[in-house]
């Protein structure tokens, strides 16, 4: 016990004197958590609270063009900037290049006419299907109708573009449906659709009730902090490979290791000490990042991190994640021949495992072939365990199926380390 205590003390002393290493271990996760949360939060707010700047050029003088404008406004996703109808497309594009807006919509001059024409055709087809006379109507090809033009700035990401496209299609559908309804009503009743009925038909939508599933019955929708803080804490924990991997290599390469081998103490004591010391470091890392999420984020305009009810579960999951991260770092240190090798392999492999594990892109959004590979990443199981607690409101027993693979991977790392030590005649 005295030996292990002395070794831990030695490791802590060396660790605390490595200022650059400390900055790397503690400042890096804080910066990552703040930056990524801020970025994701602003993206979230852009779609939900803030608005996408949009240029609107309505060249149509009819009713449908105005309705389209109203429908787009009602979507609430866009910050509309009106462009006079006589401004040419090229000028609109130039304004977009000048970052006036990232998207522009041009409603063509004959938009109302074309919408009405299409609505009549649809009504006629519907009446024909009902077995009613449609002699008074003639079918015309409306496919040549000039479409609504949407201009996108290239910086707009594909997922964003799809969201905007969905919102515009929804607006267009609303305008079209209104015209179809009017046309049908007129064909059947020879009078215009009453405003009250139009409102009833068009605006009385069935409400969508969004409920996040949670194990503890909590109905709060998870915010960007709930997603990012645990994810980047895991990333930081595994990044101890830079400090710890190097420390193992340094000890192997410098003379102290030769002396250690001639002393009546097993080298496993040194590794156990590193395991305990750095497990403590990873725990402190999590404590610091979580504290910042809880107490500092609100002052920075970021959503507050809400800790799960099962605090003991968070502590245990944090310790297991830390243990896995430390085991991985020691394994890299045992096999690496130089510090540069340990740093390079360690850093690249952590980024890869983070990508595979769903830290950079949600695992459900990955190609099906990756659904099996991601299970090999310990970061995936760490993330799933944390998400089970932070997002699903689960308890430790609810994430046990994520913890078991994590423990299994940790055990494999330890076995490989022992094999490496034996093979190199270090134990």
């Amino acid at each position: 016990m005295f030996k292990i205590g002395s070794t831990i003390l030695k490791d802590i002393r060396i660790l605390t004197r490595d200022k650059l290493g400390l900055i790397f271990m503690f400042v890096m996760p804080i910066v990552l958590a703040i930056v990524i949360t801020a970025v994701q939060n602003s993206t979230f707010e852009m779609l939900n609270t803030n608005t996408v700047p949009m240029l609107l050029c309505n060249r149509d003088t009819g009713e449908a063009g105005k309705q389209m404008e109203t429908a787009i406004t009602k979507v609430g996703m866009f910050n509309l900037k009106q462009v006079t109808p006589n401004v040419p497309d090229k000028e609109i594009a130039n304004r977009m290049h000048n970052k006036d807006a990232v998207v522009a919509i041009i409603i063509p001059a004959n938009f109302t006419q074309k919408i009405k024409q299409k609505a009549e055709e649809t009504a006629k087809k519907a009446l024909k299907n009902f077995g009613m006379s449609t002699d008074s109507l003639t079918l015309t090809d409306s496919s040549s109708a000039q479409p609504i033009t949407v201009l996108y700035h290239p910086v707009l990401q594909e997922s964003f573009r799809h969201s905007i496209q969905g919102a515009l299609k929804s607006s267009l559908l609303m305008v079209q449906n209104k015209e179809v309804l009017k046309s049908l009503y007129f064909s059947l009743n020879d009078t215009d659709l009453p405003d009250s009925l139009e409102n009833e038909l068009m605006n009385n939508q069935v409400a969508i009730n969004e409920i996040p599933i949670s194990r503890d019955g909590n109905r709060n929708i998870p915010n960007a902090s709930q997603h990012n803080v645990p994810a980047w804490t895991i990333f930081a924990m595994f990044f101890v490979v830079i400090s710890l991997g190097s420390s193992v290599v340094r000890e192997k390469l410098n003379g102290s290791f030769v002396r250690l081998k001639t002393l009546p103490t097993n080298y496993l004591v040194a590794l156990l000490s590193k395991q305990i010391t750095y497990l403590f470091v990873t725990f402190i890392q999590a404590l610091v990042v979580f504290s910042i999420g809880i107490w500092l984020f609100p002052f920075m305009g970021l959503p507050q991190l809400n800790l799960p009810n099962d605090i003991a579960g968070v502590v245990i999951v944090t310790l297991i994640c830390g243990c896995c991260a430390v085991s991985y770092a020691i394994m890299i240190g045992v096999f690496a021949k130089t510090q540069e090798q340990a740093n390079g392999i360690g850093a690249v492999s952590i980024v890869l495992m983070a990508a595979i594990g769903g830290l950079l892109v949600p695992s459900f959004a990955m190609p099906s072939s990756f659904q099996y590979i991601l299970k090999l990443s310990p970061l995936h199981w760490c993330l799933e365990s944390y998400y089970g607690l932070f997002l699903e409101g689960g308890k430790l027993k609810d994430v046990i199926l994520n913890i078991l693979p994590l423990l299994g991977i940790t055990f494999i790392f330890q076995l490989i380390t022992l094999y490496g030590l034996k093979r190199k005649n270090l134990i």
Binding site: F2, K3, G5, S6, T7, L9, K10, R13, I14, R17, D18, N254, G255, S256, V258, R259, L260, K261, T262, L263, P264, T265, V269, N425
Partner: protein
Amino acid sequence: MEFMNNAAVSIHDLVFTYPGQLDSCLSNLNLTVQQGERFGLFGPNGAGKTTLMHCMTGLLPYHQGSIQLLGHEIAHHKKYVNKLFGFVPQDFSFYQELSPKENLAFFGAWAGLQKDEIKNKTAQLLEVLGLAEVQNKRVEQFSGGMKRRVNLAIGVIHEPRILFLDEPTVGVDVHTRHAIINYLKKLNEAGTTLIYTSHQLSEAEDLCNKVALIDEGKIIAHNTLQQLMLDHKEEGLEGLFINLTGKSFRDA
């Protein structure tokens, strides 16, 4: 196997071959170092000195022959044997980020000492080796000579019965060399057997009372320095060295 009761180190028919090599680095080597000797092991570069030193300290596992330290076979009683000897490698074998006191505390614990023993021994060693005033400063700020003394202090903190020294004075000034050699002599007078290698032959003449020359993995001469000089009609260790090992480069 029988061993001599007075032997600090007893080596019989030792063969050592590095993995992947066909030729043996040490072949059928026999050597006995008596307790209380100040034994010098010399030879040209690549002769097998470091390999033999590493075999004797258990750093290199041997598979043929026998090495006993104070009657205990290293291969069979490594943990026990490790308590009997100290090792002062040529490289600085400590943590440069720590102070001499912190290094001694750590290595003392690994050598099996208790807290009080470490405290007493540390104070004594730092005083004797002139490091008391800098005991709390980080070693990385020290001169080469001070680092050599820290290296030596760590090797003797557990009061080993045999002390292996691999070039303990390389790169130090004359004052530090004298201090180290004098300290080693005092240790020897107190009963510690010294096993020493160096290329500083004048220093070796001053320190060693028994020498062995190793070449091509074999002991080619082993006796008191005076007897060897008499046998080979040489007046110093350097002449004896050249006489027995030749003048050609060995590590070319």
